[in-house]
Each structure stands twice: as structure tokens, then as C-alpha cells.
């Protein structure tokens, strides 16, 4: 009797049924899972020496201290620095994943002239020629995204050497001019549309003091700050009539019920401040300037030209760092014929889309950088932001480009060293070191070289307070910028997978 087709089918079916009662299929399932965990498609974390390095965040003017956990030279996570004078121990969501930025698309890595790759020397020659050809009514402007830096001094020096140089900065970069906010002693904040709990100043500093102040939010939107404020006044933030009603109520007159509520809270919680474009003269009535808990003057302010105040169609050559200012505003200021725009940017999809020339700039953590006074700080400040990763070949710091344009042989690193030397020479202030959370008087640091090494290892210089004199009131300016052009792909956790909105506006 032979082995028939039917026998084969019976044997196969019986074997399959029998196998199901053995551990074999379940073992295979588990083992295949183990294999699949390691197959080539599944990313494996790099292994190496774990090190802690320190730097300062340059992504916004909040100047937060950063502790980076690195595998070899590659940062794998960022965290705040406990005790940091500006940021306490916190970072915002964008700062927590700042080390992911080099892996975002749309990076500018080569100098471009009208979209074509060129040598930076060619761009230098063409821009120099364009500057030389400027007429008496045509100006050369630099848009400095982060005023107050040593790089800003480079820009100012270069423009001062020209007959028609204009130094500009976005208004939100210096929202209170020469004033800072003594948030630690403020007991009430009347905010006209400022996202106080959603990206204002340094989140660590604001939230560390949140229990000390009453927050009144005047805003028509049901924003995150409005929803969490102690009192939400659903009135348009720029409504001058409401600010006037509050002023009346503070003086004991007026009939507006909302304004009376606001005045009662402000009166019961002194010192109080008013912030935002609608604040008007409320700070004068609240007597909030020059006293603890209010606006305090600091030492380092140097005013910049507001681009909005520059005559339309007057800029012949514009060198612009990537900033929150909309391109439409810049475009209106450009000369109608043959204007030259140089974008000093790490990205191809911002100002670079409109520029004649693109100079690729390094990203945060890719090159030695600096951070000026933290936004809203009552004392001048300075930090270095040392590089943690290598920058792509071909990028150039904007300050280095301007130095070469000015035929200055010094490098940006030299400029930073000069700034540190000046700090040591002045001898004022203290240096807070990130690694041990200790503060040391500058006078007690032995030499300029030691101060440089300290700042390079992660430290923040904080100026001494200045005597307060009554010299006017803060002029309300834009207190927030737009969201950053790029952020880590992990922000999709908030935006797409949880429906949670990231910070409505970018930290200032």
C-alpha cells in the first residue's frame, strides 16, 4: 500500500493540529520578537562613555542654563540647571529637544547666490560691491535677532564705519528697553494679552514665582494663560478703553465692573505691574517703576532702530539674521530697484527663500555662541554657549561674516574673548557655575583666562544691581515672538498624538 496524496494531507493536517498543543509556536513567536527587536530596521542607541556637559540655550532670549547628557560627544538629553539665576532648573519644550535640531530638514549648509552654490568669498565680494555703490539716500541695514551680544557690537561697529548704516532689532528682543521685571517680588500682574504662563520670559522663573502673584489676563481669546489666570477679563488686549477704565478705577472713579474688579485685585496685591501693548500709563499709576516688585533699570541697554520706523524703500543692502519679523515688513523697507538681501540663517525656508545670498549659519549647540542678558532680567547678564556637536562643513557664524565684510582679521571667538576680558576688567558681578551651582565674585576669579574657562565650562555672569532712579516708564513693545521656524520632530507628541497645543508663542 503506497503513500497517497490523501495520506500526505492527513499527515500535514495532523502535524499542524498537534503542533498547536506544543510550546513550539509560542516559543517561535517570542523568539521572533526577540529577533525583530534587533533586526537592521530597528534603531539601536549608540553606546559610549556617558558625560555631562554644560551650555546655555540660545534658542530664545530667556538664556536658560542647560545640562547635556552626552554619549561620547553626542548629546542624548538636555535638562535645566538647578539654581540657575535666569531659568532655575527648567527648560521649555523646545529647549528640551534642542539637540534634535540638526536632524530637521531644510538646512542651509552651503553659501548660495540666487539659489546656486557659490563660495563665501564670492558673496563677500558682491555684497562689498553693493555696499560701496549705495547712494546718499540708500542705507545698509543689519537685522540682529538677539541684540545685546558681543556680536551685536561687531554689527554696530561695522555699520558705524558706513555713512548710512542702520542697526535694527526685532522689538520683542528687548521688550522693556532698559528695564527688567522684579518678578520675585511682584504680587500682581495685569497682562494685556501677554502669554504669561505660555512662553513669557523663562518658564522656570515665571512658574517658580507663580504662587506669589495674582494674574489678571485681559485677552479676548480663551488662551492657556487666560484659562489658568486668577481673573480672566475677556476684552481685546489692545482695547484702550478698558485700560482707561482700569486707570479710572485705580484712581477711585469709573463704573466698569470688570475694571473695578481688576483695580481691587491690583490694590490688594502690591507691588503690581501692567504688561502688554494695552498697558498704557497704568505703570505710572501703579508706581511700578524703580521699586522692588516692579520694573527695575539695568546697566547694559543699547537701543536699536525699530525696523518699522525705517522709511519704506530706503534699504539698499539688508543683512538679516533669522528672526520673528515677518518678511512682508522687511520687504517693504527694501529699495525698489536692485536691493541686495543677505540671509544669515541655518535654514533654507525662512528669509533664505527671499534672499539674493544665503550664508549658512551654525545651529544651536554647533558652534561657540553667546547669550546676552536674559529677557526680563533686572541685571545685565552674559553667558557663553559652547558647542557640543560638530557643525557641518561650510557654515559660518553671522558675526564672522560681518567681520570679514569689514576686513577685520579677528574672529568671533576673539571678540568673545575680548568681551570676557572686559568683564574681568570691570570686576563687577558674580559668576554662577552650572556644575556646582556656586556663585563667585568676578573679583575673586584670578585671571581673564580663568574667567573664560569658567564661562566656557558652563556659567552665567550676572551684573550687580544698579541704583534705581526714576527716568521714565517702560514703553510697551511686542512681548512675544512667533513660534520657532523649526523644532524637534518629537514636538509631534504634543501636536498630533495628544492634541495638546505647544506654547502659543515663542518664549521671550
Amino acid at each position: 500500500m503506497g503513500f497517497t496524496r490523501r495520506d500526505l494531507l492527513k499527515f500535514t493536517g495532523g502535524s499542524a493540529a498537534g503542533l498547536a498543543f506544543t510550546p513550539v509556536p509560542w516559543r517561535l513567536l517570542r523568539d521572533s520578537a526577540l529577533v525583530s527587536e534587533n533586526w537592521p530596521g530597528v534603531p539601536q542607541p549608540a553606546q559610549g562613555e556617558i558625560r555631562t556637559r554644560y551650555t546655555t540655550c540660545t534658542l530664545c532670549p530667556a538664556a536658560c542654563g542647560v545640562r547635556a547628557r552626552c554619549v561620547g560627544d553626542q548629546p542624548v538629553s538636555l535638562a535645566g540647571v538647578p539654581g540657575h539665576p535666569a531659568s532655575h532648573a527648567a527648560l521649555c519644550t523646545v529647549g528640551l529637544v534642542g539637540h534634535h535640531l540638526p536632524f530637521c530638514g531644510g538646512r542651509a549648509t552651503r553659501a548660495l547666490a540666487n539659489g546656486r552654490a557659490v563660495a563665501i568669498e564670492q558673496v563677500l565680494a558682491r555684497v562689498s560691491a553693493a555696499i560701496a555703490q549705495c547712494g546718499p539716500d540708500e542705507s545698509v541695514a543689519i537685522l540682529d535677532a538677539r541684540p545685546g551680544r558681543a556680536a551685536s557690537q561687531v554689527y554696530r561697529r561695522f555699520l558705524a564705519g558706513l555713512d548710512n548704516g542702520i542697526y535694527c532689532a526685532p522689538p520683542e528682543a528687548q521688550p522693556y528697553g532698559p528695564f527688567g521685571i522684579d518678578l520675585e517680588n511682584t504680587r500682581a500682574i495685569l497682562s494685556f494679552g501677554v502669554p504669561v504662563l505660555d512662553g513669557w520670559l523663562s518658564p522656570g522663573r515665571v512658574l517658580a514665582n507663580r504662587s506669589h502673584f495674582q494674574l489678571i489676563q485681559v485677552e479676548a481669546d480663551y488662551s492657556r494663560t487666560a484659562s489658568l489666570a486668577d481673573l480672566w477679563v475677556p476684552v481685546a488686549a489692545g482695547d484702550a478703553a478698558f485700560a482707561a477704565a482700569v486707570a479710572h478705577a485705580l484712581r477711585g472713579s469709573g463704573e466698569d465692573a470688570h475694571a473695578a474688579d481688576v483695580a481691587r485685585i491690583l490694590g490688594a496685591n502690591q507691588p503690581a505691574i501692567a504688561i502688554g501693548g494695552g498697558a498704557g500709563n497704568l505703570n505710572a499709576i501703579l508706581d511700578s517703576v524703580g521699586r522692588p516688585g516692579g520694573f527695575l533699570r539695568r546697566r547694559d541697554y543699547a537701543p536699536a532702530t525699530d525696523l518699522a520706523a525705517v522709511p519704506d524703500h530706503s534699504i539698499q543692502v539688508l543683512l538679516a539674521e533669522e528672526s520673528a519679523l515677518p518678511w512682508s515688513l522687511l520687504e517693504r523697507k527694501l529699495a525698489t530697484r536692485n536691493a541686495v538681501v543677505v540671509a544669515l540663517t541655518p535654514w533654507l525656508d525662512g528669509y533664505a527663500r527671499h534672499a539674493d545670498y544665503v550664508i549658512p549659519a551654525p545651529l544651536y549647540l554647533e558652534s561657540l555662541d553667546e547669550v546676552a542678558t536674559p529677557a526680563g532680567s533686572t541685571a545685565a547678564g552674559f553667558s557663553l554657549s559652547p558647542a557640543l556637536v560638530a557643525a557641518p562643513v561650510g557654515v559660518m557664524a553671522p558675526a564672522d561674516f560681518i567681520l570679514r565684510l569689514a576686513h577685520d582679521a579677528t574672529s568671533y571667538a576673539d571678540v568673545l574673548k575680548q568681551r570676557v576680558a572686559a568683564l574681568k576688567k570691570d570686576g563687577r558681578g558674580t559668576v554662577f557655575t552650572y556644575s556646582d551651582a556656586k556663585s563667585t565674585r568676578v573679583q575673586d576669579i584670578a585671571s581673564t583666562s580663568d574667567l573664560w574657562k569658567t564661562l566656557l565650562g558652563g556659567a552665567a555672569w550676572v551684573d550687580d544691581p544698579v541704583p534705581q532712579v526714576s527716568t521714565g516708564f517702560p514703553i510697551p513693545a511686542a512681548e512675544t515672538g512667533d513660534p520657532p521656524l523649526h523644532s524637534s520632530p518629537l514636538m509631534s507628541k504634543l501636536e498630533r498624538e495628544s492634541g495638546l497645543r505647544p506654547a502659543r508663542r515663542y518664549a521671550i
Binding site: 530597528v42 542607541p45 554619549v71 542624548v76 535638562a79 532648573a89 527648560l91 521649555c92 507628541k493 504634543l494
Partner: protein, 255 residues
């Protein structure tokens, strides 16, 4: 009990809802620490992976008396009749008696998702896709945490990699027990509002134990008797009412 520990711990959290501003730093810190990949283009709140997820709720009052609160939801580390552990056919979930942490072993996971159905807190997530990062970004992965493969369930484990690192550090100093604050999950470290306090609930002197005993503290769905280790704290009655007993069929009012 672990060989490195002399007395069992009961790690837990106290989350102050009155301090939480819903910034999402805890979610981002968690994703970075635990190698959770960016969302796929087709991912939704239902299919995405966020070991910690911040929900926004509102008091339901009409404009302009409407108010909001944010509630971070993560694995509640149930200590009693742990629902996910009870239903897992693969024994891929177990409660560590030395720490009280509910551990998930993706290598054992079959992907049946019984645990997801059993979890009353919806704090478990299924890998619908292979984990993928943009080119080069794999270099930023945390070396202490393995990536998970497609087809398995994952969830918060109180940053187990950090627990191991803290134990190793303690061992190098000749200690068998961890010091308070030596082991802190990434979400607690990242929270700029300091709304998340982590520690050993068995240590009556610890900050987290004190907060858990606070009159304003409560646990979500406490009536289920799961003995969760995540305590929430609020002085606002409507927040407590909404969080203790989520309204049926009502979508969370996300921000």
C-alpha cells in the same frame, strides 16, 4: 526584592494640578528619555505613543467663567489586583515587589492588547509601526533604554533606566538603598512648574508621602481599588470632581 535593596520601596508620584500649566514638557522629557519615536504622519491621539499624556479639562461653565485644568495621565502603577498584569497571557507584565513599579517586557508581549482593554486609565500604548527617527537622529537615543518593536504594548515604567543607574551609583558608593532624590523620572525632572514630585511612598518623611496624605490629594478612579501610586492634588473642587470620575461619553477638552 532586589539584591541591592534592603527594604522594599513603593515609588509613586504626587502631581499638583494647580501648578500644571499644560506645557507638555513632561511628555517631551519622557519621549526623549524612553526613546519614544516621533509621531508617524498617520498617527492620531488614538494610535500614537505617549507614555505620559496631558489632558485638558474645563469646568464646563459658559464664557467668560470657563476655566481649564491640565491632568497628566500616565501608568498609575496599580498595586492591588493590577488589571493589566492579571489579563496578560504572556506574563509580560509584572509588579516588582522591591519597587512597586509595574514592569512591561516587550520581548514577551504578544500584542494581544488585552492589557490595553483592561487598563482603566488608558495609559497603555500599542506600537502600530516600526519605530523610526529622521536620518541621523538615532544618534540621540538614550543608551539606557532599548527601542521597542512594532506589535507590542508599552507604557510608563517610571524611567526604569534611571532606577538602574541610581542603583549602580549607590552600589559604587557602598550603599544598598537609594537616597531621597537620587532616582527621579524624566517627567518630574522636566516639569518647569515643579508640579510633579516623585519618591518613595513607604517613606513617611518623604515629600511625596506627605503630599499623598494632604487633604487636597486624591487618586483617579479610586473606587476601583487598584491602589494606584499616582496621587493628584488640587484645591479646586470642580477639578477634583472631574478627575475623580470622568464624565461618561464626554471627550476631553484638549488644549
Amino acid at each position: 526584592m532586589s539584591a541591592t535593596q534592603t527594604k522594599p520601596a513603593r515609588y509613586g508620584m504626587a502631581i499638583d494640578l494647580d501648578r500644571c500649566t499644560g506645557c507638555g514638557a513632561c511628555m517631551i522629557g519622557c519621549a526623549v528619555e524612553n526613546n519614544v519615536p516621533p509621531a508617524r504622519p498617520e498617527a492620531t491621539p488614538r494610535t500614537g505613543i505617549t507614555w505620559m499624556r496631558v489632558y485638558q479639562i474645563s469646568n464646563g461653565a459658559p464664557f467668560p467663567d470657563r476655566r481649564a485644568a491640565f491632568i497628566p495621565i500616565l501608568c498609575q502603577q496599580c498595586g492591588n489586583e493590577t488589571p493589566c498584569a492579571a489579563v496578560c497571557p504572556q506574563e509580560a507584565v509584572e509588579v516588582d515587589p522591591a519597587t512597586g513599579i509595574v514592569d512591561q517586557m516587550p520581548q514577551r508581549c504578544l500584542g494581544c492588547r488585552y492589557c490595553m482593554a483592561a487598563c482603566p486609565y488608558h495609559a497603555r500604548y500599542f506600537n502600530w509601526w516600526d519605530p523610526q527617527w529622521p536620518p541621523g537622529m538615532e544618534r540621540t537615543l538614550n543608551p539606557d533604554v532599548a527601542t521597542r518593536m512594532r506589535g507590542v504594548v508599552e507604557k510608563c515604567n517610571f524611567c526604569h533606566g534611571r532606577l538602574h543607574a541610581a542603583r549602580t551609583h549607590a552600589a559604587t558608593e557602598g550603599r544598598r538603598d537609594l537616597l531621597p532624590g537620587e532616582y527621579v523620572p524624566a517627567c518630574a525632572e522636566a516639569c518647569p512648574a515643579e508640579a510633579i514630585v516623585f519618591g518613595d511612598l513607604n517613606d513617611a518623611a518623604s515629600e511625596v508621602a506627605k503630599l499623598a496624605r494632604d487633604g487636597h490629594s486624591f487618586r483617579i478612579l479610586e473606587r476601583l481599588g487598584t491602589d494606584s501610586k499616582i496621587y493628584y492634588r488640587t484645591a479646586r473642587a470642580w477639578v477634583r470632581a472631574a478627575a475623580e470620575e470622568p464624565a461618561a461619553r464626554k471627550e476631553n477638552d484638549r488644549g
